[in-house]
């Protein structure tokens, strides 16, 4: 099995598990749109990242990729509240936080603006500055990603891990008692 197939299989298995264990309550349309957008971006990434021969990806897209990503995200975040489809930022940050609707709106708007600005900044830096600066900019974007991961880790994953351990402990106790 090639690494590409293995990675695809892993992603497929993860998605299958996620589908089986998905929450049964209805999903906000804004989040559904975000999921759809990400499915397309993910399919693109999977094809060009794992299957397509090197160099098949349009050259101009290489410089615009971050912008495309940011602007798709920004568009979804902008449009969804206007159409009454909820606040997709909830899916990014995590719906576990207790915020009022007003707070979610501002958070959503702030995130959409940030993504829009970062997308524009990427175009400026990619075409008007030396490649080293662009690499530095992309690296700073990765740091933003790390910040989001840390937020999720601190407020969601730790609690989830604690619940899993507690449930396993309870089951083990029931098994051996």
């Amino acid at each position: 099995m090639t690494p590409a197939l293995l990675l695809s299989a892993l992603a497929g298995a993860a998605l299958l598990l996620a589908w089986r264990w998905r929450p049964r309550q209805p999903m906000a349309p804004g989040i559904r749109v975000l999921l759809l957008a990400y499915s397309m971006l993910g399919a693109w990434a999977l094809f060009f990242g794992l299957y397509a021969p090197a160099g098949r990806e349009p050259a101009v897209l290489l410089l615009c990729k971050p912008t495309l990503m940011y602007w798709v995200l920004s568009a979804v975040l902008f449009i969804a509240p206007m159409l009454g489809w909820g606040y997709p930022v909830k899916a990014v940050v995590g719906a576990y936080f207790v915020f009022s609707n007003r707070e979610w709106r501002w958070l959503n708007l702030g995130f959409a603006l940030l993504c829009g600005l970062l997308g524009a900044a990427n175009l400026v830096i990619a075409f008007a500055y030396p490649p080293g600066d662009w690499e530095g900019f992309k690296f700073s974007c990765m740091v933003n990603l790390v910040a989001i991961v840390l937020l999720r880790l601190t407020f969601v994953w730790v609690d989830a891990a604690a619940r899993i351990i507690q449930q396993l402990h309870a089951r083990a106790k029931a098994l051996f008692s």
């Binding site: 089986r20 998905r22 899916a91 576990y96 936080f97 969601v156 994953w157 609690d159």
Partner: protein, 429 residues
């Protein structure tokens, strides 16, 4: 060039001090040291021969020949042993030269009966001594210390020093408590008309003044090593420089470094930079011994006590008639007027075991307590007054909803979120 080992059975000639020579057969017993190999002498059960390795350089062998010749001619007068005790060998001293052909090859010495003896090293650990069939008590330990001191004193009287004095080179007779010193051909000799240096040293038993240079005062070195051995024997194997750092001063990890810096924590005056090992029972030693230890180890101490001083101080404790050793309520021998060291040690170890048990119990419940703590912190539901107050003081900005979603749904959500993150990473990289 001699490079082959001596055969398992070979013929040699012994040259006795009175000039008599004797043809003998040497039988290999498979015991070999750094400088030579030990053989049994056929038809002479009380003797063994040490034959220097063929790799020893001719110049070095010539030095050995001179040294052994002097030693055979000048045996030291050793402390007398009662006639009832037969076959006690206090020194593996050379008695005759061994010649292979016309060439000097080694020497013959009295055989130390290894079935009657055990390494002094074993006395440092009670359990190890018990395994060797030796029940340790403080009366026996003090007697061993006394006997060792008297031998060293006799050697020093003849201007001979051991230099590499350490437990592994010492044997103790299990019943009689006399001490044997091995490897006598490595001694330092500074007699009239004959000088032979000793180059071998062991850092853990080396006096601080000789750590950076050669041992120029071998008797001073012996005094330090003797005090170290006595301290370890009486303190359950704890080295006098085994310590815990108390301040910010330099605290080397190895004993040799601490010896060099004089970091002795067991003195009657507290050392500012180090603390004693918790398992130490030095507080149970009588004052005369503590004074001798302080003079031996404390930095700036004047006059390291001689082997004779040690022997004199220990004699009072080694003799039953002196009444300086009494029985504690638990039946252990102890120094009169002092706490029982055995009970003290048992108390320390018991306390340690209890603390370890408590720690293990806490450790076992830690994951559950940690999970509860994290959950209460996240939900602000701490019941402890301080924690509850802290939770109330939390700013309003971020609150988490109670975790009502089944864990499977949470996992599914987080899988999708993580895949989304990976996609984002690919587009941004």
């Amino acid at each position: 060039m001699r490079s082959t080992r001596l055969p398992a059975r070979s013929t040699a000639r012994l040259r006795w001090p009175d000039g008599r020579t004797e043809k003998v057969r040497l039988l290999a017993i498979g015991k070999s040291g750094g400088a030579g190999e030990v053989f049994e002498v056929e038809d002479r059960p009380g003797y063994v021969a040490k034959i220097y390795h063929p790799t020893v350089q001719p110049a070095q062998l010539a030095l050995y020949e001179r040294k052994i010749g002097w030693m055979i001619a000048n045996p030291p007068a050793l402390p007398p042993i009662p006639q009832a005790y037969e076959g006690i060998v206090q020194l593996a001293w050379p008695l005759a030269q061994v010649m292979l052909g016309s060439r000097f090859a080694g020497f013959v010495m009295q055989k130390i009966d290894f079935t009657r003896t055990l390494e002094l090293d074993y006395l440092l650990t009670r359990r190890q001594a018990q395994r060797e069939g030796f029940e340790v008590d403080f009366g026996k330990l003090v007697t061993v210390c006394y006997n060792l001191s008297t031998i060293i004193d006799c050697l020093h009287g003849k201007r001979i020093a051991v230099v590499d004095l350490k437990p592994i080179n010492l044997k103790v007779y299990k019943s009689e408590l006399y001490v044997s010193i091995l490897d006598c051909d490595g001694f330092h000799i500074a007699a009239e008309g004959f000088v032979s240096e000793a180059t071998q040293v062991t850092p853990d038993y080396l006096a601080p003044e000789f750590h950076e240079r050669a041992v120029t005062q071998p008797q001073a070195q012996d005094r330090f090593a003797l005090a170290t051995i006595i301290f370890r024997l009486l303190n359950f194997g704890i080295h006098p420089y085994a310590s815990i750092a108390a301040g910010r001063a330099d605290h080397p990890t190895e004993l040799a470094g601490r010896i060099r810096l004089g970091l002795y924590p067991y003195g009657r005056r507290v050392h500012p930079a180090v603390r004693p090992t918790p398992a130490s029972v030095h507080e149970a030693f009588p004052d005369p011994l503590r004074e001798l230890f302080d003079r031996s180890f404390a930095a700036g101490a004047d006059g390291r006590p001689s082997a004779r001083e040690w022997a004199q101080a220990l004699a009072g404790f080694a003799s039953r008639r002196a009444g300086n050793m009494t029985m504690c309520t638990a039946g252990h021998l102890q120094f009169a007027g002092r706490p029982c060291p055995t009970c003290l040690r048992e108390g320390i170890l018991r306390g340690h075991a209890q603390r370890r048990q408590r720690f293990t119990a806490r450790l076992q419940t830690t994951p559950r307590r940690a999970i509860t703590h994290v959950r209460r912190s996240l939900r602000g539901t701490h019941s402890a007054p301080f924690q509850a107050a802290l939770a109330q003081m939390q700013p309003h900005a971020v609150h988490l909803a109670p975790a009502t979603m089944p864990i499977r749904n949470v996992i599914a959500t987080e899988i999708v979120w993580t895949l989304g993150l990976l996609v984002t990473y690919w587009w941004l990289k």
